[in-house]
């Protein structure tokens, strides 16, 4: 598998950077409607993975992974992961033709109504209406459509329709807000079976989250290196002290590895079956490696900036919060290692 970036991807990266660079510093409510409009309508990146006949670009998750990288680097507060990666993957697997075209043209933002971390919620179906509660759902605040798994099927529910309440929670990561969703006899349209759609969405989400984590880690490394080059103490730049050099070299080594792993994961889920054994292995590997690397890079960023790294004013804390959150959401590194062990047949102790 080719782990490099294609020329098209590099071109996409350039246009994304031009757009995102000017928007650094995220608003407090965790959603930048104007950037989202530019991304969806002007650049059309929400439709990257949507087939051309449904109005999308017919590209693959590899290109979407590149978008995730840049959104991670700039911590852009938009629901790309939830809508353009996870919801779109679920809808593609479910064979939807109604919602996808509207995501492609930017008129609809969809979100999977599942907890960002932890076990799936519990929603009952009675007479075609849905009732239940889902905690800590990501990317649902700005959504027009919720995709709700209930009774083994996936349903489309209007996010501000009757019987739907979304309550924002105070989340650790202020740039990716979470909401609690309460459904009380909310009307829903059945799309298809939930299990394959959710499985593929989770695998694609975990695989591409690694690219976001790569972007986060790269920002942390670049920013810290720049600081270490210019901050003078004891008459020398602090970056000339070996204690600091070696820590940054170690971060560079692990970030370099994250790049290979994230590219591999993106490639692996881009095939025909995004939830096959190889994609699941690649996604678990990616979360087991890239999550902890982003946390470490962000921690070093805070520490090596000294006091300023501990302030609200410096953006380091936003990256720290994003890194830690993503290393828990969609499964911790430890959970992914267990999953890998299962896929590799390396059974735990006590089992024959």
């Amino acid at each position: 598998m080719n782990l490099l970036y294609s020329q098209d991807e590099e071109a996409l990266r350039d246009s994304l950077r031009d757009l995102l660079r000017t928007r650094a510093g995220s608003p407090d409510d965790g959603f930048d409607a104007e950037v989202w409009r530019l991304l969806t309508v002007e650049l059309g990146v929400t439709g990257l993975v949507i087939p051309e006949k449904l109005g999308g670009a017919g590209a693959s998750l590899r290109e979407a992974a590149l978008v995730m990288e840049e959104l991670g680097r700039f911590l852009t507060p938009v629901p790309y992961l939830g809508c353009a990666v996870m919801a779109v993957t679920a809808l593609r697997v479910a064979g939807d033709t109604a919602i996808l075209p509207r995501i492609a043209d930017g008129s609809v933002c969809a979100a999977l109504a599942v907890p960002f971390a932890g076990p799936a919620g519990d929603v009952r179906v009675t007479d075609g209406t849905l009732t239940g509660r889902l905690e800590s759902v990501a990317d649902a605040l700005a959504a027009d459509v919720l995709l709700v798994p209930a009774g083994g099927d996936l349903y489309e529910v209007a996010a501000d329709g009757p019987g739907v309440t979304r309550t924002p929670v105070v989340s650790l990561d202020v740039t990716r807000p979470l909401v609690d969703v309460a459904l009380s006899a909310a009307p829903g349209r059945r799309i298809g079976p939930a299990r394959p759609a959710l499985g593929a969405a989770r695998t694609a989400g975990a695989a591409l989250l690694a690219s976001e984590q790569l972007g986060v880690a790269e920002w942390c490394l670049d920013t810290t290196v720049e600081y270490a080059r210019t901050r003078i103490q004891f008459g020398r730049p602090i970056g000339s002290f070996q204690a600091i050099k070696h820590r940054l070299a170690d971060v560079w080594v692990s970030v370099t590895q994250s790049r290979a792993v994230a590219r591999f994961a993106a490639g692996a889920v881009s095939g025909a079956d995004p939830d096959g054994a190889e994609p699941r292995l690649a996604a678990a590997l990616a979360q087991a490696h890239c999550g902890p690397v982003a946390v470490r890079a962000a921690e070093e960023c805070v520490q090596l900036h000294g006091g300023i790294g501990f302030t609200w004013e410096h953006p380091a804390h936003l990256y720290l919060k994003r890194a830690k959150t993503t290393s828990i959401a969609l499964g911790t590194a430890a959970a992914h290692r267990r999953q890998l062990a299962g896929l590799l047949g390396l059974t735990p102790a006590g089992t024959p």
């Binding site: 080719n2 070696h246 070299a249 560079w252 790049r259 290692r337 006590g350």
Partner: protein
């Protein structure tokens, strides 16, 4: 554009494989040794990635052992190609590649390892050649080598980097004394080499007098570029030995070891993919610094993996296979006991530049962090503390 697959197939069909050396010589002469080298020197001037096609087509034919000829292949050859005269290239490259002549590296000295440019071995003009005197150490394969790459001081009055000259040393010349140096595994891969008034004709000098450091940089860069791990399959190499133990021996399993093994599996796969990506970059003509990341990562991994294996084996891990002194030809990670592997792995973070030096290089050359203040680069070598 040359179709190397066709060439390799035609070559295979027409050259008999019953005499391995003759076959390898013919392969070199056909330009199928290292296709990215110039025509006439074992190559065809093609992109490096095409070598994989040749190797695939010639699989199963007689081959040289890259572990045995590693120093020649990875370090001497690129240096001779880049800095050698046409005559030197013609003389050295063919037998180097066929394995008929082995090479070693006479760089490290008791007083100069990481600080290679501080070395003390002297080379003094003598008519149409040089007289070399000094002591080298940790020299892998010196006891088998026909030739050596040698760095020596030709002007002690200049600052240390400027007074060096690079030579090819004739290991059969009078005055070259090779003595095995036993290492902590019990065997001797490496040697001490004493050079006493060794005469080297001037046509064994590689590059200009006083330009030794620039030539050595070519060698060292290639040493780091020769990416650790080669092209292992997923789950292969040392991690494969650990997971086989786990699979075959339910009695060694513990809950804590399970998670540690999986951490190592993830780390090994991440390092392996980084190597794959680095080779793809190289093939695309854009060699990055990723090779250093791979070397650092594998050095640490080898130690952690082999350490965990010993712990899993418990009482078995207390027993070694054999302390008999061997004067070997190649590192044997697969054929020996787990204790050997664990001990040998301690060398991975020292050989070819220590992990600390590699971190310095990454920090300064890749990340662009400022160098530490130095006092040793402007004074004459003679005046430096040693």
């Amino acid at each position: 554009m040359t179709d190397v697959r066709e060439l390799a197939r035609a070559f295979r069909a027409s050259v008999p494989t019953d005499d391995p050396v003759e076959f390898l010589r013919a392969r070199f002469d056909a330009g199928l040794a290292w296709v990215h080298y110039p025509a006439g020197l074992g190559g065809l001037g093609l992109p490096r990635e095409q070598q994989a096609i040749v190797d695939e087509e010639l699989a199963g034919t007689p081959s040289n052992d890259p572990r045995r000829i590693g120093i020649g292949l990875g370090m001497a050859a690129p240096t001779v190609l880049r800095h050698g005269t046409p005559e030197q290239r013609r003389r050295f490259l063919r037998p180097l590649w066929t394995g008929e002549e082995l090479w070693c590296q006479l760089f490290s000295e008791p007083g100069a390892g990481s600080d290679l440019a501080g070395l003390a071995t002297r080379a003094v003009r003598d008519g149409d050649g040089w007289r070399v005197t000094g002591q080298k150490v940790w020299t892998s394969m010196a006891h088998r080598a026909r030739w050596a790459i040698l760095l020596a001081r030709t002007d002690p009055d200049l600052p240390k980097h400027r007074g060096l000259t690079y030579f090819v040393c004739d290991m059969t010349a009078p005055g070259v004394d090779v003595r095995p140096l036993r290492q902590l595994t019990g065997e001797a891969e490496f040697n001490e080499v004493f050079l006493t008034d060794v005469f080297l004709p001037d046509d064994l000098r590689l590059g200009a007098v006083g330009e030794g450091w620039a030539v050595a940089r070519t060698t060292l860069m290639n040493e780091r570029v020769s990416i650790g791990g080669g092209s292992l399959p997923r789950g292969g190499g040392l991690i494969g030995m650990l997971t086989s133990l786990w699979t075959d021996r339910p009695d060694v399993r513990t809950a804590a070891a399970h998670d540690e093994m999986m951490r190592l599996w993830v780390a090994a796969e991440a390092a392996r993919l980084t190597g794959v990506r680095a080779r793809q970059q190289l093939a695309a003509g854009d060699p990055g610094p990723e090779g250093s990341a791979v070397k650092l990562a594998f050095a640490e991994l080898a130690q952690r993996i082999t350490g965990l294996e010993l712990e899993l084996r418990g009482a078995e891990g207390l027993r070694h296979d054999d302390w008999t002194m061997r004067h070997g030809e190649a590192v044997d990670f697969e054929g020996r006991s787990p204790t050997y592997r664990w001990l040998r792995a301690k060398g991975t973070s020292i050989e070819g530049g220590t992990s600390e030096i590699l971190r310095n290089i990454i920090a300064e050359r890749v990340l662009g962090l400022p160098a530490e203040p130095r006092t040793d680069t402007t004074v004459p070598w003679r005046e430096l503390p040693r």
